[in-house]
């Protein structure tokens, strides 16, 4: 691999809101992009070599959403493309483009305008195999697949429902300290346990609510980053992986995240996961946070739940997990969820996380999962070098 290093030199973002009727998607993206360019101190019309946006047609309501992306990012008549994937997958493309040596500054955007989709559940079901999977569950909410996966995970690891409930409690509590977050709430494990099942063993309150928002990252080759900013945050490694798309073939240990983490750690030269100070993992469903922590090697199989209950992953714990509040606290931002996780890491490593700042944070990991019904995920390792 090329030895050129890659760093984040600017981030921009909107608030995360359950609805955003006051702007259209272009205006939402423009706000985040303008802030990112200000942060990086660059002019997109002159300085950016390539633009990437992360979007899926059916989330947006367009047969070719790529058409509707360049203007608001400053990308008209410039190289730009869409990744129908999560923001971290967008970041992976930027990373590779910079590593080729051809591109110096690359911009990655991801957003959610999911409040505009009136038939969310139908569209989720449209991602199921149309022959073997979709016809089985007409009328049933497609999130039942999360119930199946949670059952398999609990069965394989001995994790308890109480331990999953602890994830909800911690993330919604962490969100109080995050001004971007929309779904902060004071709960305790008992109240989560007494709440209604949606897809046994998954409870409704363990499902991250959806939110709108846009996030833009500006990345640059290391030598340029060091010229442009005093606080470059290095993208030391990024991995991504997909499991079999068949619902019934899914592993119980998030093997997509495991493989993605191996790839990212290897690139980063990270041999010991104990060096990681912060982890922002995907928590679209509470149990997923535990499964992902184990897949990332941040807890042994079956131990993440226990550690969560013990507070090991809290703000004062041995490893800060989802200090942002995660998707449970901030809202599930669809394809922008991975960038939201990465955003928190960047803010923390720059020392700009305000009241939730993790002290002396040097290395952070962000992880994403593209969501039901597939097993696609990505892992990014960031660091603030001395």
């Amino acid at each position: 691999m090329s030895h050129r290093d890659v760093a984040v030199i600017g981030v921009g973002y909107t608030n995360f809101n359950s609805v955003t009727p006051e702007v259209n998607w272009k205006e939402l993206m423009f706000e985040a992009a303008q802030k990112a360019y200000q942060d990086a101190g660059i002019d997109p019309r002159r300085d950016v070599d390539s633009f990437i946006t992360c979007a899926e047609d059916f989330w947006e309501g367009f047969s070719i959403f790529d058409e509707f992306t360049p203007d608001q990012l400053g990308a008209a008549l410039r190289p730009m493309h869409t990744v129908p994937g999560d923001g971290l997958q967008g970041l992976a493309n930027a990373y590779m483009q910079i590593k080729t040596g051809l591109f110096d500054i690359v911009v990655v955007e991801a957003h959610s305008k999911i409040s505009e989709l009136l038939t969310y559940e139908d569209v989720v079901q449209l991602s199921f195999d149309p022959i073997y999977e979709a016809p089985l569950s007409n009328g049933v909410h497609p999130y039942y697949v999360a119930g199946l996966e949670m059952r398999a995970y609990l069965q394989a690891t001995g994790t308890t429902e109480e331990e999953c409930a602890a994830v909800v409690v911690q993330n919604k509590r962490n969100a109080f300290l995050n001004p971007l977050a929309e779904f902060e709430c004071e709960l305790d494990v008992e109240s989560v346990m007494r709440s209604d099942y949606a897809f046994d063993p998954l409870k409704a309150v363990e499902i991250a609510p959806r939110a709108d928002g846009a996030i833009v990252f500006v990345l640059a080759g290391g030598e340029i980053a060091r010229e442009l900013t005093d606080v470059p945050v290095y993208l030391e490694g990024i991995g991504w992986c997909s499991e079999s798309p068949w619902i019934a073939s899914r592993s119980s240990d998030a093997s997509y995240a495991k493989r993605a983490a191996q790839m990212a750690y290897q690139q980063a030269g990270l041999e010991n996961t104990q060096l990681i100070d912060i982890a922002e993992v995907d928590d679209q469903f509470a149990f997923k946070a535990l499964q992902h922590l184990e897949a990332l090697g941040l807890a042994r199989p079956g131990e993440a739940g226990f550690l969560m209950v013990e507070g090991a992953f809290g703000p004062q714990g041995q490893l800060a997990v989802n200090p942002s509040g995660g998707s449970l606290g901030c809202g599930h931002l669809m394809e922008a969820s991975g960038l939201a996780r990465a955003l928190e890491i960047v803010l923390q490593l720059r020392g700009e996380a305000g009241q939730r700042q993790v002290e002396d944070a040097m290395i952070g990991v962000a992880q994403s999962w593209r969501g039901l019904p597939h097993g696609t995920g990505a892992v990014a390792v960031f660091s603030r070098r001395e």
């Binding site: 691999m1 047969s63 070719i64 203007d71 990744v83 051809l102």
Partner: protein, 394 residues
């Protein structure tokens, strides 16, 4: 941009494609596997050797599966691998291999599989029904547009601005449908088609007639890309990707002059600079520009710098773009002759250049031992273009 500092050079060592057909029985996954298998076979590789998979597929609204990239991945060889889908409308056909290029050029991967799939027959009553949603929902969709309109309007503007005759444009359709006779996957090959057939074909949205248009198709295509470190271990005839370029113009298509596709010219400039091509008219031996409509081939040749604006039609009339002409254009038969399964036209653009430049094009082989080719695709709302320059070095 940092020309001349590319970390790893990238070569094509195998290609494959399915039949292009109005309807295929195979699911999208099965089509993908068929194309991938053929490309791997040609490269003498197995799936085990592949480090990453890049998927190119255009609207989910054709196949009728949301997140179809993820859905297709087992057929594309993506299971338990880094798998990435990129998407730039019709431009995906040449853009997916560009994404494959940076997967390898970055040094992250040594051998990758680029797979493109499209199954348009799922969309009922017609693929056009999905195209109804490519437009701005507030400004355009209430007018109930048809995709052909946009081509018709662009063609009209092109003919008007450069004084191009319809009779010359229609010759492109004749040439490509005849060229396709040599293509084993072709859907609309016709050895006997005449200019008159095109000129008198059914009016769709004038000036566009039925035979000016490429047909909707089902199909899949694949190429295998490898790093300079292993290319010669695998074949004596690697074909190198020496230049890549892409560009998107503003969303506001009614704020642009539609006569000349600036975005194609920008993408071409990027690719030529990278490939060190200073005079494309002298240095390019074969062109595979995107030809979903006959006039598009002409417009694209002009924006690729292979003809002056308005002159590509004259080149065509003079026979210079025939397979044995000065500059063979769409020797594959193009989208007009082989078919237009949007992203899967990878097989007749980059795939064709691979076969031509490595001397494997059989009945379609361009004479004179061609060494340099340019492939181009176009997409979105007359807005995006991707360009690849390929070269045989021996």
């Amino acid at each position: 941009m940092n020309l001349g500092k590319i970390h790893k050079d990238v070569a094509v060592v195998g290609a494959g494609m399915t039949l292009f057909s109005r309807r295929l029985q195979e699911t999208g996954k099965e089509m993908s596997w068929e194309a991938a298998q053929m490309a791997l076979d040609q490269a003498d590789l197995s799936l085990d050797d592949i480090d990453a998979v890049i998927m190119g597929s255009a609207p989910d609204a054709f196949d009728g599966v949301h997140k179809k990239g993820d859905w297709l991945l087992d057929g594309a060889g993506g299971t338990n691998r880094p798998y990435m889908r990129v998407y730039t409308g019709g431009g995906t056909a040449v853009f997916a291999p560009i994404a494959g290029w940076w997967h390898v050029a970055s040094g992250l991967f040594e051998k990758v599989l680029v797979l493109c799939e499209e199954k348009m027959s799922s969309c009922m009553p017609h693929a056009q029904s999905a195209f109804a949603h490519i437009w701005d929902p507030i400004l355009d969709r209430p007018l109930k547009p048809n995709l052909v309109w946009i081509f018709s309007m662009e063609m009209q503007r092109y003919m008007h601005t450069y004084d191009v005759r319809y009779e010359d444009i229609a010759l492109v359709a004749v040439k490509n449908k005849r060229n396709a006779v040599g293509h084993p996957c072709a859907q609309l090959a016709d050895p006997d088609i005449t200019l008159d057939d095109v000129l008198t074909s059914e009016p769709m949205a004038l000036p566009v007639r039925r035979l000016d248009i490429s047909p909707p198709s089902d199909g899949a295509a694949a190429v295998v890309l490898v790093s300079e470190d292993v290319a010669y271990e695998l074949t004596n005839e690697p074909v190198w990707i020496d230049g890549v370029g892409w560009c998107i113009d503003s969303t506001m298509w009614t704020n642009r002059d539609l006569a000349f596709p600036k975005f194609v010219a920008h993408a071409a400039r990027m690719a030529y600079e990278m490939a060190g091509i200073k005079n494309p008219r002298k240095e390019i031996d074969i062109a595979e520009p995107y030809d979903p409509f006959d006039y598009k081939e002409l417009q694209h040749l002009e924006a690729l710098g292979l003809a002056d604006p308005g002159q590509a039609a004259i080149m065509t009339r003079e026979g210079k773009t025939q397979r044995d002409g000065e500059l063979p254009v769409c020797p594959s038969g193009g989208l007009l002759g082989v078919g237009n399964p949007i992203a899967a036209t990878l097989g007749i653009k980059v795939g064709e250049l691979f076969w031509q430049l490595s001397g494997q094009a059989g009945a379609r082989q361009v004479p004179g031992d061609p060494a340099v080719g340019v492939a181009q695709a176009w997409g979105d709302l007359m807005q995006f273009s991707s360009v690849i320059v390929m070269r045989r070095r021996s």
